[in-house]
């Protein structure tokens, strides 16, 4: 188990056993407001770093979620289909979005630390 890392697009990634679990941060859910639908990528999809790979629909607008690094989706969180609002309540826990096997583990390591992400959010 390694530390959780973050992106400037307000996503978190947690690395375990060769695969990273990806979700959105509490700051992101708070900014988006009530989430009513999440369009998640299917297992097997490949994404380049920074590529749009999921869409969050709040009442007001649709927002993209970007791949934090290049990799292949291994699974997505099926519970979000029935309860997208879980992403408002527990964004950094049970309401993870998908799991991504990085092409290069070093890409994960290069993401922001919790302290650097907090400093980034404070600067907004």
């Amino acid at each position: 188990m390694t530390a959780t890392r973050f992106t400037k697009d307000h996503e978190w990634a947690r690395f375990d056993d060769g695969i990273a679990t990806i979700g959105i941060t509490d700051h992101a859910q708070s900014a988006l407001g009530d989430i009513v639908f999440i369009d998640l990528p299917a297992a097997g999809r490949r994404f380049a770093a920074g590529e749009a790979c999921a869409v969050i629909e709040s009442v007001k607008a649709a927002s993209d979620v970007y791949a934090p690094f290049a990799g292949t989706v291994t699974e997505n969180n099926p519970s979000l289909a029935d309860d997208p609002g879980a992403a408002n309540k527990d964004p950094e826990g049970n309401a993870w979005f998908f799991k991504l096997r990085p092409d290069n583990k070093a890409d994960f390591d290069a993401l922001l630390s919790a302290e650097d992400y907090q400093a980034f959010v404070q600067s907004l």
Binding site: G33, D34, V36, F37, D39, E57, S58, V59
Partner: protein, 345 residues
């Protein structure tokens, strides 16, 4: 906070869904002071205004308010507005985004002895929802006697406010025009009532959409004809005979032959909202129209939309299709409003 028509506006307080449902079940407070207010005064003011709006303004009695359309010379809508007869003047309430256009357009068509004065020192507050009457009458007892679209000047929080029984949510409620220096006291007095929650622009939009009320800039613009927008009811009976308003000839033609397209309600199959701009096709794949407003409807727990559809595909029950993120989505044409109006008639 978000930018809207040059104003920094609250998008939400406790959350759009919470505020929306609170308005449907209790009472919600909106600060809509960004909207334009202006007083029209002078001899024959009503008749002069009638030259450029669709409504019967001459017949608007003192203490009554009416929804009407400001027209351009080719039958398009410059703005949709409320006009109230407050005896000493006609009080006009128009969209924030259209203030400058409206003032210039109306003034260009008024004789010199009639004045249109923007009321820059007045705030506009809205209290909406089934408990609005109980809340407002606790601090303004006379408001209880108002029926839908009645407008009266009455004491509130130490000043005189123009209070009308109207709104933009489909619920019973009130709109309060008040001198700006008293707005904070009035807002605090209303929000002190435990039945009231503050609501932002997000809930205002989802509430009006469920009520099937068009939004200028989305569902109406200078090219929209009142007939195709489903706003034929705004054309006064007398006016529908004479068509004696700016653009009246073009509107009368659309009225006589039927519009080419119609603004309709759309239910969306599945959980994802279909937003403004989405192209709509019929079952044979032909382009038949476009979504102009789309959101998630908190009261229905489902996505809904408004859109202009070719007249022969605009019948209730017609199935249409949109493409959302390269997936096919089915939409159903349904009657408006999505949620029944509950005005205090």
């Amino acid at each position: 906070m978000v930018g809207f028509a040059g104003y920094a506006m609250p998008l939400q307080y406790s959350g759009i869904i919470d505020e929306h449902l609170h308005c449907r079940h209790h009472a919600a407070f909106f600060d809509v002071s960004h909207m334009g207010q202006a007083a029209l005064t002078g001899p024959g003011g009503a008749a002069a205004l009638e030259r450029i709006v669709t409504g019967d303004i001459n017949g608007l009695k003192s203490g009554r308010q009416r929804y009407t359309l400001l027209m351009n010379d080719h039958g398009g809508i410059v703005d949709d507005l409320m006009v109230a007869n407050i005896t000493t003047a006609l009080l006009l309430i128009f969209n924030a985004s259209r203030k400058q256009e409206d003032l210039a357009h109306i003034r260009a068509h008024l004789p010199s002895n009639i004045s249109l004065q923007p009321l820059l020192d007045r705030a506009l507050l809205a209290l909406q929802g089934p408990e609005s009457e109980a809340v407002l009458s606790s601090i303004a007892p006379n408001s209880k006697s108002l029926r839908f679209l009645d407008t009266t000047v009455m004491p509130l929080c130490g000043t005189e406010a123009v209070i009308s029984r109207s709104g933009y949510t489909g619920e019973d409620g009130f709109e309060i025009s008040i001198p700006a220096e008293y707005a904070e006291a009035a807002a605090c007095a209303l929000l002190a009532d435990p039945r009231v929650k503050p609501a932002g622009l997000g809930a205002r939009d989802s509430l009006r959409l469920e009520a099937g009320l068009p939004l200028y800039g989305n569902d109406l613009d200078e090219s929209t004809n009142p007939i195709e927008a489903g706003l034929t009811f705004t054309i006064g009976k007398r006016r529908k005979v004479a068509w004696d308003f700016l653009g009246g000839t073009a509107v009368s033609q659309a009225y006589a032959r039927g519009p080419h397209q119609r603004l309709v309600g759309l239910y969306v199959d599945g959980p994802a909202p279909v937003r403004s701009g989405a192209e709509l096709r019929d079952s044979e794949g032909a382009f038949v129209g476009r979504v102009t407003s789309g959101t998630f409807a908190p009261s229905l727990n489902a996505p809904i939309a408004l859109g202009y559809i070719r007249h022969d595909r605009a019948e209730d029950g017609t199935l249409l299709e949109a493409t959302l993120r390269s997936r096919r989505v089915v939409l159903h044409v349904v009657p408006l409003p999505f949620v029944p109006h509950r005005y205090a008639r």
